[in-house]
């Protein structure tokens, strides 16, 4: 008599008891629910102590306070994108780029661009670069009694920093770019494909809304990785929700991810048209009012940080920057993480940021 083997036996649990650990796990998760909800509600982001040292219109400049002795006189100004909030650079005490620099002995300032309202929709990139950034850097230089400051720009904030550096090179000691796009010719990047003028009418959007609405921006960013952002993330959360540390980090990231802000209409229109659609910056054809942006004018030391798994700004969009500048002291680091992972991943904080602090320390004026 022959016995027939079940072809799916390998996939089947050997006995119904096999499900019970899952059952136990489910009960553990249910038990953790109140704690999870409390953590989600009370998570504190961007909590490093700071004071506002400069403000203009909606913009504020935060100066971070620290008990750690300063080692360098050259201050460091952090500039985040106009999309989302800048506290991603100081998300949690153990995942804070700000804290990394403070621990290394730097004097750290952060630009909070504020939330543009309908009346700010006229603000262009020129306003942000030649007025706000210029005033901020000049104010920080005056406060710290130096002629040159170091500037770190993240994502779109990096692009703005590069534009600033080309227009006012004498005011910068060092320039660090983090996942900052300067070239939009790489059509592997989904955002570039989506903003193709044939399908994406930025004029119609800005004319209708005034500012670029946050729900459209958030939707677009989420759709870049739908499987990861709408399914895997929550499955991962369910699996690890009994870990208090994980829940805290998840809550902090969700808080930041959902804390979207609009982008000033004219800035968005100009960024999409001149950068995404015409790719003017890397060709040296971009103009901000009467100023022409020539990246060759940048002569200060450059550190270009890129994330190899970045789905928002591909490495190809940033890598070219080092070839476009006039600096002789330039370095690029490609780190294995994602766009946001550069600032919040544990590995980046362990391996990347100490390197960045060393690089900057070697090029800053010591006390």
């Amino acid at each position: 008599m022959t016995t027939m083997q079940n072809p799916f036996a390998a996939m089947m649990p050997p006995s119904p008891m096999a499900f019970f650990p899952t059952y136990e796990g489910m009960m553990e998760r249910m038990a953790a629910m109140p704690q999870v909800m409390e953590t989600m509600q009370n998570v504190k982001v961007g909590s490093s102590p700071s004071s506002v040292v400069y403000s203009e219109d909606k913009l504020r400049v935060l100066h971070y306070e620290s008990d750690i002795e300063k080692k360098y006189t050259t201050p460091l100004v952090l500039s985040f994108a106009l999309v989302n909030r800048p506290y991603i650079l100081d998300l949690l005490p153990h995942k804070s780029v700000v804290q990394q620099f403070l621990r290394a002995g730097f004097d750290v300032y952060l630009i909070d661009w504020g939330v543009p309202t309908h009346n700010d929709r006229h603000l262009t990139i020129e306003h942000y670069v030649t007025r706000y950034m210029r005033n901020v850097l000049s104010a920080v230089a005056d406060l710290t009694n130096v002629d040159e400051v170091s500037l770190l720009g993240y994502c779109m904030g990096g692009t703005l920093s590069a534009m600033y550096a080309s227009l006012f090179p004498d005011t910068l000691k060092n320039l660090i770019l983090m996942a900052a796009p300067v070239d939009w010719s790489d059509d592997e990047a989904l955002l570039i494909r989506w903003t193709d003028p044939k399908y994406y009418d930025v004029d119609a959007i800005i004319d209708a809304y005034g500012n670029a609405p946050p729900h459209i921006l958030q939707g677009a960013f989420g759709m870049l990785k739908p499987a990861a952002n709408y399914f895997e993330k929550y499955i991962g959360f369910y699996e690890r929700m009994t870990s208090q540390k994980f829940v805290e980090e998840f809550a902090a990231m969700e808080t930041w991810g959902n804390d979207n802000i609009p982008v000033a209409g004219e800035t968005f229109r100009q960024f999409v048209k001149d950068c995404f659609q015409k790719n003017l910056l890397s060709q040296g054809k971009m103009r901000l009012g009467r100023h022409k942006i020539d990246l060759k004018n940048i002569t200060c030391p450059i550190l270009n940080l890129m994330a190899s798994n970045d789905h928002l700004v591909t490495c190809g969009q940033s890598a070219m920057f080092n070839d476009l500048v006039g600096s002789t002291d330039r370095k690029a680091i490609t780190f294995k993480t994602g766009h946001i992972g550069l600032s919040v991943s544990s590995r980046a904080h362990k391996e990347l940021w100490p390197q960045v602090c060393d690089w900057l320390g070697e090029r800053s004026e010591e006390l």
Binding site: P13, P14, S15, P21, M27, N119, R193, A228, F231
Partner: protein, 170 residues
């Protein structure tokens, strides 16, 4: 009894009750006939399930990525965007008309005012920028003249002192 259970705060009491109840339920699963208590087969099953899940999501991610790069997706995106913008415009027009009929100021009136103020501000900033450039140019010129005057005067004094030294030598 824990401190939370003794607390008068109903929220804390509820939380403690919930946590204890769920923990106990998780620790004492109902016994089924023929069930083994070994966790190993279950672990293997979980690994297999995870692998299947990973494969499924990888395939889904690839499919989504391909689809979102396709002409069809881009056309659909444009269509839905056009439709939502047209709807928004229709609503905005309706609200403007309604407010105008009620003789109340509409957003456009306030925006016109803001636009005018912004124009004034821009002109002032432009003037200031130009003035700043002019002042910088004048300062540079003055510095250049000052340094050349110093150079020529120091050159003169060098010539005089060397001439006097030469006459002394003689």
């Amino acid at each position: 009894m824990s401190a939370a259970a003794n607390s008068n705060n109903p929220a804390e009491q509820w939380m403690q009750y919930w946590t204890d109840a769920m923990k106990q339920a998780g620790m004492t699963p109902p016994q089924m006939p023929g069930a083994t208590t070994s966790g190993e087969p279950a672990a293997a099953f979980t690994d297999q399930a995870k692998q299947m899940q990973r494969t499924f999501f990888d395939a889904m991610a690839r499919y989504c990525d391909d689809y979102m790069r396709s002409e069809e997706f881009l056309k659909q995106m444009k269509q839905s965007m056009d439709a939502s913008l047209a709807f928004k415009k229709m609503m905005d027009d309706f609200l403007v008309k309604a407010q105008s009929n009620m003789q109340s100021p509409v957003r456009g009136d306030v925006e016109d005012l803001a636009h005018m103020l912004r124009g004034i501000e821009e002109r002032i900033f432009d003037r200031l920028d130009r003035l700043e450039e002019k002042v910088a140019a004048v300062e540079e010129q003055q510095q250049a003249e000052g340094s050349s005057a110093r150079t020529s005067s120091s050159a003169r004094s060098t010539r005089t002192s060397s001439a006097s030294r030469a006459s002394k030598k003689k």
